[in-house]
Amino acid sequence: MRAKLRTANRWRARMRTGTDGLATGLAILSTVLVVAPLVAIFAYLIYKGAASLNWAFFTQGEKPEGELGGGMANAILGSGITLAVASLIGVPIGIGGGIFLAEFGRGTKLANAIRFTADVLNGVPSIVMGIAIYSLIVYQQKHFSAFAGGVALGIMMIPTVTRTTEEMLLMVPHSVREAALALGVPNWRSVLSITVKTASPGIITGCMLAFARVAGETAPLLFTALGNSNWSANLNEPIAALPLQIYKYAISPYDDQHRLAWAGALVLILLIVAAVSLVRFVASRGVLKGAS
């Protein structure tokens, strides 16, 4: 009887150890399966794109179909202009919203509702934002424009910037605020010059994160900025953008355009990796070096 129990226990112990080993193996396998596509994507981007990253890529505009060579300079310029408009809209309003959530509305129901809505808005597909801006600006103006593209990207930035600004401002210790108020600094001045300035490394990295996120967005630009084969810096005309150009070249039948698409994708991913790494670096060094 005791021997039977002993063997049963031994078998059960072995089963449990075996299950533990199996689970560990599966977890390691899933980690490898997750890391593999990322490594593959980066490897292919570098392998296929690095060779095409020459001076012509950054200085020449789009060449007609069938002609070899050319570059994506007009797309990079267009992206820069659209993102500048987007930042002008997204960053001030986003930081203002973050200041309200952290300073004036902390704990109120309104602030909770706004925070929840910002999180939900982050998950709305970007193409829906594009439709809304199409309906609002393009339909009224009867033409596509870089301005409409910038507005679409800008309103995509607002929820992200708001949330990260709020998180950074919440980290500023109360002593800093109290010291400023105790010296008689008016409230608005204390918030702007003291609290925001203390949290500014974090706020800037939050803006960079939002910037990097909308820099890669294609869908809202598909029918607001539309894309442009020529050089254009006019806000009232369709304008090229780097992700739009990558999309156009990727689905085209010409090998030379495929090569340019890979190079453009490499440029885009390097920009985004730089932004994400910078964010991580600043976050790890400590956002609030000045505050005690």
Binding site: R16, T17, T19, D20, A23, T24, S30, T31, V34, V35, I41, Y44, L45, I93, G94, G97, I99, F100, F104, I114, F116, D119, V120, L121, N122, G123, V124, P125, S126, I127, V128, M129, G130, I131, A132, S135, Y139, I158, P159, T160, T162, R163, G184, P186, N187, W188, L192, R213, G216, T218, A219, F223, P243, A250, L268, I269, I272, V273, A275, R280
Partner: protein, 367 residues
């Protein structure tokens, strides 16, 4: 400088809860409330005095307006979508989403016919649901496995690089995923994976042999899975970290192996949050546009085979919106966009509520 002097003189003259333009809300004269009244009265008095009262109020309202812009954006999107889709809604009603027409020439079901103004969103709804379902099927086990590895089993020196890699995966734009999928993933599926699937699982009827391009629901499902993996995994990690260490220790003290500890101590407590993370991944998969447009084949048809071409709601909008022929076409596309908007809002709100319920209000990761 003048501002400091004014406020200092105000402090020296002494706070007086009774007199002066005190604007503190809820100031009480009862002895119990006197201390609180004095505190807020002081603050109110100081805030209402001095050169900066107007500037303070103006700044306050400016910040309120900026914050309310978030509501404004939601209202703006909703109103524009509703207005622009009015035409299609009044013409087709709710049957827009499940009606079926028949092509008079070929007698095959035809859903999306801009030429004859026959619009039915059924194939796009089917395509979105099918690709998202496939993506979840592939991504959820992998993401939970990754999260378990990162939180419980990973050696400390490996944790930061792996977390960084997962964060990078989340930051890659959709169009680059699509580019990689079109040139690397689809040929891989076409040459190696699809023939294998047809040979082994063709008897189920789900893997037909009639689409040799490699595009289709399987390609869309795989690339969507790669895209939603980081979201599910990072939220699962957050939820797992929110489980108190005492739970883990209790299970270990009872003699459990490491996997049993994870299963009983962590995953069981974090169940709700993991469901929330999965639903959030679903929300992202439903709305994903560019990568899906490039690999799903863009054929508005419904077929039992998973290897067949299809179309999703976001892909048809991306393809046809800029060149929509006529107001009805545009309106039908906008109605699809409205449906997508409502569905993703509901799904995201549900997911955020579930995650919040487990992490109890800790600031959610902005992903």
């Amino acid at each position: 400088m003048p501002e400091i002097r004014t406020s200092q003189s105000a402090i020296q003259s002494g706070p007086n809860p009774g007199a002066g333009p005190v604007t503190s809300p809820g100031a009480r004269q009862t002895p119990e409330g006197q201390a609180a009244a004095e505190g807020s009265a002081i603050r109110g008095f100081l805030l209402s005095r001095g050169n900066s009262a107007i500037a303070d109020r103006g700044f306050h309202w400016l910040m309120v307006l900026s914050a309310l812009s978030i509501f404004g954006i939601v209202v703006l999107i909703a109103s524009e979508l509703v207005v622009r889709s009015q035409l299609a809604w009044s013409s087709f009603g709710l049957k827009f989403f499940f009606s079926k027409f028949v092509d008079p020439d070929t007698h095959l079901p035809m859903y999306w016919d801009p030429v004859n103004s026959h619009f039915s969103a059924l194939p796009f709804v089917y395509g979105t649901l099918m690709s998202s379902f496939l993506a979840l099927l592939i991504a959820v086990p992998l993401a939970i496995g990754l999260a378990v590895f990162l939180t419980e089993m990973c050696p400390r020196w490996l944790r930061t690089p792996l977390a960084f890699i997962t964060e990078l995966l989340a930051a890659i734009p959709s169009v680059i995923y699509g580019l990689w999928a079109v040139f690397i993933l689809v040929p891989l599926l076409r040459e190696h994976v699809n023939p294998l699937l047809i040979k082994t699982l063709g008897w189920t009827g789900l893997f037909a042999d009639d689409n040799p391009t490699g595009l289709g629901f399987v390609a869309a499902g795989v690339i969507l899975a790669i895209m939603i993996l980081p979201i599910i995994s990072s939220l699962t990690r957050e939820v797992m970290n929110a489980v108190p260490g005492s739970q883990r220790e209790a299970v270990l003290a009872l003699g459990a192996t490491r996997w049993e500890m994870i299963r009983m101590g962590v995953l069981r407590n974090a169940r709700i949050g993991i469901v929330g993370a999965v639903i959030l991944g679903l929300g992202r998969a439903l709305g994903e546009t560019m990568a899906v447009t490039m690999v799903i084949g863009n054929t508005p048809q419904i077929s039992r085979s998973l290897l067949a071409n299809g179309a999703s709601m976001a892909s048809v909008i991306a393809n046809e919106y800029a060149e929509a022929s006529g107001d009805m076409h545009l309106s039908a596309l906008t109605e699809i966009g409205l449906a997508l908007f409502i569905v993703t809002i509901i799904v995201n709100a549900l997911a955020r509520l579930l995650v919040w319920a487990v992490t109890r209000g800790a600031p959610a990761q902005v992903r």
